[in-house]
Assembly symmetry: C2
Homo-oligomer: 182 residues x 2
Amino acid sequence: MGKRPNSREAILDAAETLAAEVGANYMSLDAVAAKAGISKGGLLYRFPSKVALVQGMLVRYVERLEAPQKSKSKNSSEAGRLLAARLAARGNQVAAKARRGSFGMIAAIAEQPNLLDPVRAAHQRIWTRFRKNSRDPEMALLAWLALEGLLFVELFGTSPLAKKERDKFLKRLNAIADQSAV
Amino acid sequence: MGKRPNSREAILDAAETLAAEVGANYMSLDAVAAKAGISKGGLLYRFPSKVALVQGMLVRYVERLEAPQKSKSKNSSEAGRLLAARLAARGNQVAAKARRGSFGMIAAIAEQPNLLDPVRAAHQRIWTRFRKNSRDPEMALLAWLALEGLLFVELFGTSPLAKKERDKFLKRLNAIADQSAV
DNA sequence: GTCTATATCAAGATAGAC
DNA sequence: GTCTATCTTGATATAGAC
């Protein structure tokens, strides 16, 4: 699991950035290679096709989504940790860079919607765990979907919240998750 | 405001369907024209460019978003009606066809993310109205973002909810909106 | 593992006939 | 208002050298 000193991460970073900035349509192999600092040939060695590249973006997204959280905070409940993990996977800041990780999903749905199947499966797994650890499933669902909503409106840049409101709102979500935890 | 017997609606329908089915990347002018039953020349008469077509998709999306709701149901509160309008804009069914209307946003963000600016503005307008009509803004925000979350996970096809659960959940959202209404 | 070609094809857009 | 060419560009992908 040690990080290999290859260009894989640089490529995925470049692809995400391009998808976010110029649009997934123009996340061309030329542009990705240039931004990653390698040639198109080098890129196509790692990812033999455009679809493979997009799948690579999704794999990393799902890995981060399901990576065990260090539960660095007061959240002791499983539900709270799952919410935190979900948040971390998208980046836990409002900053533009934080949204970047989700642009793999945009690239995928733009390239070929059924590429999202593995993501769907991951979401189902996480949601099942989340629900199992909730005493009040409907309230848990409310918190979960509200977090999804927040992350999505931020992804699309239509969030109505300023930073302070956002922080306060996230605290409230965590409180709900903890209250409804088993 | 009478519907003109032109091909505009057919074109937009075709574009949305293609974006949803094969991916926004392959929503080519050729394909859209073919699906709409006209030629590429005819298409480019209505929408002089690809960007114009995507903008057309967004205009229709926003129009539906802000169209006055007939408040056909028990929802008397403004907040409840706004939630209902938001729901209606995306289609109020779980069915595949219902998601279609939102693929204009996918096409836009894939083509050129800043094309979403008018949508951002509309969202701000609606959210401002929604908040103004709420006694408990934070609870209203929770309901609003939960609805956003639901619509987005359905757009991406990652919803954890079956139809029955979904209906029940929407009722709960409406109840929250009404409770927190002025 | 990364590079420089180059082949192939489809995209967006234009011009002008009907 | 819609059609059929046609132009031009930029995309993915391959082949083979380094």
